[in-house]
Amino acid sequence: MREERGRGQGMMKIHDKIDLEKIREEGLKKLFPKETKISVGMATCGLSTGADKVYETLLKEVGRLKLPFQVGQTGCIGFCQREPVLDILTPGRPRIFYQEVTPEKAIELVHRWDKEEVVKDWLFFKMEGEEWIGEDKWFDYSIQTDLKGLDGTPSYQQVPFYQKQLKIALRNCGFINPDHIEEYIARGGYFALGKALLEMKPEEIIEEVKRSGLRGRGGAGFPTGSKWESCRRVKGDQKFVLCNADEGDPGAYMDRSVLEGDPHSVIEGMIIGAYAIGAHEGFIYVRDEYPLAIQKLQVAVRQAEEFGLLGDNILGSGFSFRIHLFRGGGAFVCGESTALMASIEGKVGEPRAKHIHTTESGLWEKPSNLNNVETWNNVPVIISRGSEWYSKIGTDKSKGTKVFSIVGKVNNTGLIEVPMGITLREIVYEIGGGIPDGKKFKAVQTGGPSGGCIPESLLDLPVDFDRLTEVGSMMGSGGMIVMDESTCMVDVAKYFMNFLKDESCGKCTSCREGTKRMHEILTEISEGRGKPEHIPLLEELGWVTAEASLCQLGGTAPNPVLSTIRYFREEYEEHILNKRCPAKVCRALLKYRILPETCTMCGRCAKVCPADAITGKRKTKKEEGIPFKIDEEKCIKCGMCFDTCKFNAIEVQ
């Protein structure tokens, strides 16, 4: 991936705090222009639901009617379920957010707004001001006019999804255009950098981070301040800071949202960290599967360079620092710190034993400090608000907030940021809105492939770094997958083992062979060939894999299997002893049957069956028809007939 160097198209270089304030003024004009501004959420979640078409339609319509409206883009506001989301801001009016916007709706919205009207049915929420958490400021919109049809619309803080959230990492996502550095600065961005470089010594910065209690947000939860301190202490004039943006846990996309919606927050954090540690070069290692994040980072880095916030003599402090972007190659294991560094060095991403930590000898054997995207992003706020404020949030040993992706069988899916210590129950039911379709909660999987499943009996556990580990899971990078009664826990274990076996780098025999064998055994169980001795065998294999592998891919690989055996043993036994899958997921154990009494003989199922396994006679005006029947031998259990039948005449056993 090529890096684009700044071209300095008349961009003002920021030499000191006064310049920064001048850019802030420009940014405020962009954030709150005199004319109406429509912002469309164009992060990946928005784009995948058609936000680009909404954006284009808006541009066209505004142009056609020659309306004095600006149309811009912004990042993800977190409630991904309701995308595409857009907001309309006019001086003096409440700021209105709409959800599930289509191009047709967009046109209607524009016409109505021109008449000072809102479309009640599509309203999401309203705002009368916004919080700038980095500066402890409330920016009031100074509402003068009321709008027709707004009564009953909740404000942002009243929406159940947002009520218990506290946005620190996600502070700017959905509220700025990530391509406009001025908007980041207007909301307080880079002022923490000014304070750090011009008013604090590196040791003071490290003390602040230590006192804040910030722990790594990538999953391991190592105290960040201590890591910085040990890297600083190592002698050497060439050091590196790295950002791990190789977010690989399936179901987790928190970092992606931050990179797409607020890339400067990470850059600012890295510059502060580099200054504290004594590094002059930084790398951001971004997953190959995140092209939009890479693009936003490229724009952000270039702008930061043009404004003099990256490069030589930043803000007149004498400190120089540059950032390079590195694109991953699609390997999950490269999220492991030593594998990531090997990858940057041009090698394959194989982890190494950490007798010597990377803070002492890392990238090219130089002292290197690696932190996760969310960790870096928290740093500017800790510097500007202070460690005392930060350490009041969260629990005793887990300070601050954590961003989680809440997905799966839950009503409100998206990204949330909550103070640590909130319970799983609050997350799943109050924020997540509970389980859809009246189904019953079964488990929530946390921590990705390194984590485990937590059953209903433990829903009142507070979420933090340590409590979930005690019960066999872990908080991990923040992925939370909610499962209901139609999820098979054996299948979940098999799924994760399949993932890990594919992603294992192969270096350690225990991991390479262990994950493979565990997957084979789980496949046997899910296909009706399970034996009672398989369960103790899985437990033993799991223990060996964890003990003998040198990195945490192998080290945590057994967690999904062991936690599901621990809490859902009966389900395993049902598969093994009775060859039955209670959740009706494991194909080989299913039987599809048409209920002859209910069958209306429409023939649809036979039409869609890919294996020609359904026979019968269609009922017509002239002919009686014969109820349709599935030939079990031919049936491949794809489920198409079940999906197609409109009369609930197909039963799955």
Partner: protein
């Protein structure tokens, strides 16, 4: 791909061996995969053993040694999509196209792959075709999805 095109890519990365992954990724963007001749040329030009190049090319999932079709379909099999039935979508596509995941149709029109989490979990099951995301899929919707590209 001409040797001079490969030369210019290598030059952009200042011929650094540590940038091998990026160089191969750029070659792949043009060729849609990594032809053996291109790899042999890179080996010779950059004086890197061919085994090292194959090591990189086979380790990283993003790189492919097999020719790819005109349209690339990536079906997400991340946890959230899996729980919402992502496997069935993949199987439906396998049946419709007559190939297994990881293969390309004989007429070189489609390549079918499974990926692990694109990060659109709220919209699961998800498939991406040529960079365009199709969310909230079902087995029935697969037919119309393919029609768009046929």
């Amino acid at each position: 791909m001409t040797t001079s095109e490969i030369d210019s890519i290598i030059r952009q990365y200042e011929g650094k061996e540590s940038q091998l992954l990026a160089i191969l990724q750029d070659i792949q963007i043009k060729e849609k995969y990594l032809p053996k001749e291109s790899l042999e040329y890179v080996s010779q030009k950059m004086q890197i053993p061919l085994t090292k190049i194959f090591q990189i090319a086979t380790f990283y999932n993003a790189l492919s040694l097999k020719p790819r079709g005109k349209h690339k379909i990536d079906v997400c099999l991340g946890t959230a999509c899996h729980v919402r039935g992502g496997e069935r979508i993949l199987e439906k596509l396998e049946r419709e196209l007559g190939i297994s995941a990881g293969e390309t149709t004989k007429d070189r029109k489609f390549t079918l792959e499974s990926v692990r989490c694109l990060g659109c979990c709220s919209l699961g099951p998800v498939a991406v075709v040529d960079g365009k995301v199709f969310g909230r899929l079902s087995q029935e919707k697969v037919g119309s999805l393919l029609k768009e590209f046929k």
